[in-house]
Symmetry: C3
Subunit: 349 residues, 3 copies
């Protein structure tokens, strides 16, 4: 049997199976700095050790999406190397803060399998969990991907589609954020005076700026996350692929949109949960990403008077400024929406 | 009122106003490593903890221009988001060394305002100051930018143009450099045998090499510095902008020129002050930067026999090798000078 | 005499001469993170502090090729600035592990000189040695380069071609790896179940994936290594150069190939020696690198029952998938082999 791995096909997954993913990774200040260089994220809690300590964090936590991408990245080699499409995310909860020096690793449970009618592919649902070096859960999420069949054996076991929650309930939020001293939150330094009470449900915010993506950038990002999906790296083979070129890792768009959303949600310092994420259309290098958001809900957290949660739906677009809050999906080469992400952020009360 | 910020216009500035800028930033070894990867700077004092300690630094200091760019970057969102042009710098003094682990923040005082005759823009002069976590001044500088008027209200308050010094006086130099043991300076390891006494006023040096700039590089740099100026990032909107494409952050050129100047000034290990800086013409990705320098002055520092100062004027060019010391400004697409930077460097006696 | 250095020409080298190279460098977590972002290397021993400690390393060692490139980079300004071609490597031994925080420096001894018959160039052989801050040897290697003559003076001293070993003998391997507790090696986390006994001499492995290289990436890499060879950076002058464009640093290809080889040799966690390295054809940005390997030999190490050595010959190709194990050299613009690297890796028994 070949020692090189070509990835699992749909038939290689079994319902209930637990997969331990390779290459635990100690997160360093280097990773955090590269993340800043890639996205320019300015959320102060991740940028200043002094600020983080002043409000009660032991140290500056690592950006939540950097943690998410690193856990996601570890799952790629086992889950989605032969994926045709990343269909969605749900039930993502950030349960513990991660600090530089922590070592993270990932495992996934196969929680759903469904063959497609054409018989050439199927949908695989996994619940992936990230752990730190003390075996504490730091983040978990469900994702589902359409995976090619290999045709080398019959599909394994029983099919099943998991029942997924449409949102993470507010009572489940906040694990990623220790109790902070919100009175010491410096709104000059954080970049905005707006706190929980200043936002209203239904409010829409254009994040104004646009960022053009280069091939080198999204590849540096995906490699930093140990994401080995071929479509991001191999221009030679993608020439004859679906789009004729490399596709930007969808999580790269999530991080760009989150960084842009600083202009409007500067105090929404931590992502507590992702209720749903959908890559509506692909992004290619040369495209310019814009973003806008709507406040979908607001919620107090159980037993906490320091921070509360805003439920935000952020739409990222390609080559389309967002001042009119556009949501029409991007065409193959045309402008339009490429990502919709529904998530909870924590913000001082 | 919109929670997203579109930047200040000329009318939004008031003479004497003090602006505290957002997002303090703890500088890490990651930032320093990215800076090395971006410019290849080889000045030994920033590269080797052992060397720095051997001459009396407590640790390797962070490159002066990295500190400058980070302080500059913080000011952009408040000062120059609607700038038409960065006109110049003056009176920049590096007053204290910065080490990895320090947290830096910035504030700016509006020290000059002058409407342009056309009535559509004006010049804003600010004195920006960088502080460390002990509220000590690490660097300060004056810059002036041409800023669009918004047309939404009358210009605020009295105009005024500050009197600026043509140079930082030698007696004000050296705060960024602790007393060192120059006898322990290893000229093999530093890359050159040339010390203070080897340079003569009027001497010109071609720095030989040329470096082509890529879009991914200057955007990584600007994001690392939290510089959010749109012209660097948004190819979609710049298509219909002044130059039809993204413009490289002028500070990126300063850092390239400084790194190139290692070949000629390897022992000029620290920038003590910038007397004047002028971006003569823009740089675009694909352009190749060359540089040459003239020694404009030499000065002993007050009460110091370890290091002295060389006043250098470095000219950076675009697509024009510098062996003939060219200074004609680059045309829109043609070759020529793009930067002139007049600064003091410290060098062992 | 000019203070800017134009590099040594063939006549400037003397047999037996020892050259101390500039700019010692303290390796940081930032360097390690950038290396990961550049190549996506997943060898667990470099990625996880926890894993490294669990098997008996004091900490996670720095990737061997990062160390190699940094030592190599330091030699460029003195050895190969006027090189026409990098001809080969031999007798490279990694003798001590390097950890973040170590400061490394380099020196080279000229061990061979041979004028070419045309009289316009000659071959320079150097043995370069890397040291840490305790003056311990960390790596050494021989390389030979074809260097232009300057025509400014007669060639110095006697010629001589060193006798080089075709391979590093197994008894000389292992200095870079402390004794580990192989029983605690977690083959789930390392990414493969294959250990020493699973490989047989003659076995060939296609590493499957292909990676397209961008200009920004190879220049970031070369600058991180302080490699100042002009052909990598200066598109303006290379337009009229041999290939009409920038050439990717050959070591960049070595690191890409090594990272790809994880898919097949995930437990071959450390390079112990490089027997021979040959850049068969240049790589340019836009090219896609594939790789395959053959197991050439296997060897137990003296007095060690924890790890043993596989001798691997890895071939990297340009724009040519490797499932048929191709070895024909790439043409000027055509596909084919660009690198052949013959090396020993350590792997748990």
């Amino acid at each position: 049997m070949s020692k090189a791995f070509h990835g699992r096909f749909f038939e290689d997954f079994t319902l209930g199976e637990l997969i331990r993913h390779a290459t635990p990774r100690t997160i360093s200040y280097g990773d955090a700095a590269i993340y800043t260089a890639l996205y320019g994220s300015r959320f102060v809690i991740n940028q200043s050790e002094e600020f983080a300590r002043s409000v009660g964090f032991p140290r500056a936590p690592v950006d939540d999406l950097l943690v998410f991408h690193m856990i996601f990245g570890k799952t790629v080699a086992d889950i989605s190397l032969n994926a045709i499409a990343n269909l969605g995310y749900a039930e993502c909860r950030f349960q513990r803060p991660v600090y530089v020096g922590d070592t993270i690793l990932a495992e996934s449970e196969v929680i759903g399998l469904k063959e497609n009618s054409g018989g050439e592919s199927g949908i695989v649902y996994v619940r992936s969990t990230g752990f730190n070096q003390r075996d504490e859960v730091i983040v978990e999420f469900v994702r589902w991907v359409m995976v090619r069949k290999g045709g080398h054996k019959p599909s394994a076991g029983a099919p099943g589609v998991p029942a997924l929650l449409g949102q993470v309930e507010p009572e489940a939020l906040g694990g990623g954020c220790p109790r902070i001293d919100a009175k010491r939150w410096n709104f000059d330094l954080s970049g905005s005076s707006h706190r929980y009470s200043d936002y209203r449900v239904g409010e829409k915010i254009d994040h104004v700026d646009g960022v053009t993506v280069e091939e080198a950038e999204h590849m540096l990002a995906a490699r930093l996350y140990h994401n080995t999906a071929r479509v991001h790296f191999n221009a030679f083979e993608e020439q004859s692929g679906r789009f004729g070129r490399r596709i930007v890792y969808g999580g790269h768009v999530m991080s760009i949109a989150r960084a842009l959303s600083f202009n409007g949600f500067a105090n929404g310092f931590q992502i507590a949960a992702i209720n749903a994420g959908r890559h509506i259309a692909p992004l290619f290098a040369g495209g310019t990403v814009f973003a806008w958001s709507a406040v979908k809900d607001k919620a107090m957290l159980k037993d906490r008077d320091d921070v509360a949660a805003l439920r935000i739906v952020t739409t990222a677009t390609r080559d389309l400024p967002a001042e009119k809050f556009p949501s029409t999906p991007a065409g193959e080469n045309g402008p339009g929406a490429i990502l919709e992400m529904d998530y909870w952020v924590l913000i001082p009360i």
